[in-house]
Amino acid sequence: MADRVLLAHGSGGKLSHDLVAKSLVAVLGNTILDRLDDSAVLEASGRLAFTTDSYTVSPIFFPGGDIGKLSVCGTVNDLAMSGAAPLYLSLSLIIEEGLPLAELETIVASIHQAASEAGVQIVTGDTKVVNQGSADKLFINTSGIGIIPEGLDIAGANARPGDKVIISGTIGDHGIAIMSQREGIEFKVPIVSDCAPLNKLVAEIVSPNVHCLRDPTRGGLAATLNELAGQSRVGIRIDEVSLPVEEAVRAACELLGFDPLYIANEGKLVAMVAPDEAEGILTKMRQNKYGTGAAAIGEVVSDHPGRVIMKTRLGSSRIVDMPVGELLPRIC
């Protein structure tokens, strides 16, 4: 076998078959995938959650993960944020010709590892190879199906005044890890992506007292809080002092002129929960390895609907707005 992915690997012939069999099914296989029929046939009953996401991260390998792990965690987390227990994923690969097979294998191994950890099965998939320049090494799409347990009603429109706002840990780790890798900026303390499946953490805390869950990915915590404030038509007040940010991330943000509130996360969730339950939920979250840094960061209010206001360290307050456009390092 060649040591790089060739256009012929996507032709549908023997090379395609070999690639799927040896590099994908051999690693990711299960009783459903192994049938290799045109569609996966699934058993499920109850309320289904269904989501899809495409992953185009560059670089495809970064401290703390790679595009494979990300493509599983991202979709698993999207399902988990509606309270669903994720069950099945699809996996579509768009590979730029020339990708070293060893890299593909590493990525498939980490897809397997992330799926195993999350307890989901890859049940269907597709592989395409495109000309050099038509994709950036590897693009992945995953879709996922999960089942929502009885009695849960978790949605972006469900935040109520009085709810406590909880974040499951430090913010900004993923975005800064990617950026430092992309721009070749090295820090003494390596900054590692927080990319992780959060479905087990969610399973431990969900109840009718959990009103909203969302993972603050692109646009960071600021975008998520603004979305939830808008959907629920409530105001959100947060306290800068209570925001968990790693020292190294804070330093990197200062250097580059960024605000950690706007930096992407891939292993964090925001929860809006009934005030009386907040302490109990925080305690449960902190017992999970992906929630050890959980903190209450603010509350939902009836004032200023649609707006997020932050009390600064100095005691003044300011608007936390939706991010606009791409984050760019400062010039001056």
Binding site: L314, S316, I319, R330
Partner: protein
């Protein structure tokens, strides 16, 4: 790594605020020259914490904002020339020029690339020896040394397809120009932090000496800024005007000798065109005779035609300190960060973008 928290300490902050409130008796108007300071002041809600006697104004210290349309048009015209790759800091792409933008030129097939440093630009030049790489050199004394270093490196490596379109600008001359215009009466100036790390504090000595205006160089953390305001108030209340440094960890009075030497070896001062202010003598940096072969303006025929300003945009007045974004009828209406009319809404350090994002609760 603890240093950031130390400069955001709420208790020390409160003590400084108390002291400022106690000291400040007469109404004063301060200009924070630097866009980075405007952002920090809004981000930390500092205006709300100051006594009513203190009015803060944003100055022209935003590299993207002060680039005149005429200069921007040159960059756009170059982007349309075959065989030319433009390398630029990202913010510049979205700034509307007279008729187009770099982003537009890129969409029409121009090879325009966003870079984060001159090292990236040099790498593109190396990879594309059959094309001309033109780096759009904007910024103040902070960025100029790195541009100078890239030119010296290109010379040493024999990279013959690297050019700089130099729109670099100098801060002290434009401060003098704003003071000489006399449109805005200032009691004190918060001098730029990163610029001063390069040039030191002495280049501002003329401000207290000739104009009787208080000066303090500040960093970008809340305590840095509060300390600089405290220094300004102190100077005014005791009528002892001088240039103080509230950013000792970054700025020495004499500046950074190495960086200054590098700048001197590659650049010479020339007139520069500032948006809203016009041509200010000796306020820009042009490539010196010895490095002419790296100068884009001398090596390419660039004719962008006459420049024009967008109707209704008051970025120029905002940069001179005589208007605030709230005075602009386009602000938040037809001019937003998604669809900006003027550069102050594009740049993350622009006054309009800052007012837009941090809103009225930051306004105080």
């Amino acid at each position: 790594m603890k240093f950031i928290d130390d400069y955001r300490d709420p208790k020390l902050g409160q003590r400084l605020i108390d002291r400022i409130q106690h000291l400040s008796t007469t109404p004063v108007r301060f200009m924070e020259f630097c866009g980075g300071h405007t952002v920090a002041i809004f981000r930390h809600g500092i205006r709300q914490l100051l006594p009513r006697t203190i009015e803060m104004l944003s100055g022209p210290g935003c590299p993207v904002c002060v680039t005149a349309n005429q200069d921007l048009d040159k960059a756009i015209a170059l982007a349309r020339q075959p065989g030319v790759i433009i390398a630029s800091f990202g913010d510049m792409l979205r700034v509307p020029g007279s008729h187009s933008s770099l982003q537009q030129a890129k969409a029409e097939g121009g090879d325009v690339r966003v870079v984060y440093s001159t090292q990236d630009a040099l790498a593109i030049a190396r990879e594309n020896p059959d094309k001309a790489l033109v780096f759009i050199g904007i910024g103040f004394e902070t960025t100029a040394p790195t541009i100078a270093a890239s030119i010296i490196q290109a010379e040493a490596e024999g990279i013959n397809n690297y050019y700089v379109l130099s729109f670099h600008k100098l801060c002290p001359p434009v401060m003098k120009a704003i003071l000489d215009l006399g449109e805005v009466s200032l009691s004190g100036i918060i001098c730029p932090g990163h610029v001063s790390a390069i040039i030191g504090s002495h280049p501002y000595d003329f401000i207290p000496q000739d104009y009787g205006i208080a000066c303090a160089v500040a960093g970008f953390e809340p305590l840095d800024i509060l300390l600089s305001i405290d220094m300004l108030i102190n100077q005014i209340e005791t009528e002892q005007y001088r240039v103080e440094i509230a950013y000792r960890r970054g700025v020495r009075p004499e500046g950074n000798h190495q960086a200054l030497k590098l700048m001197d070896s590659v650049f010479e001062t020339g007139d520069a065109n500032w948006r809203g202010i016009g041509i200010v003598p000796a306020s820009g940096l042009k490539l010196s005779q010895k490095y002419q072969r790296f100068d884009a303006e001398s090596n390419f025929a660039i004719d962008p035609g006459p420049a024009r300003e967008p109707a209704g945009c008051i970025c120029g007045s905002i940069l001179r300190g005589i208007s605030t974004p709230a005075d602009c009828r386009l602000f938040k209406n037809s001019c937003t960060p998604e669809d900006p009319v003027g550069p102050c809404m594009v740049s993350s350090e622009g006054a309009c973008a800052t007012y837009y994002h941090y809103g009225d609760t930051g306004g105080g």
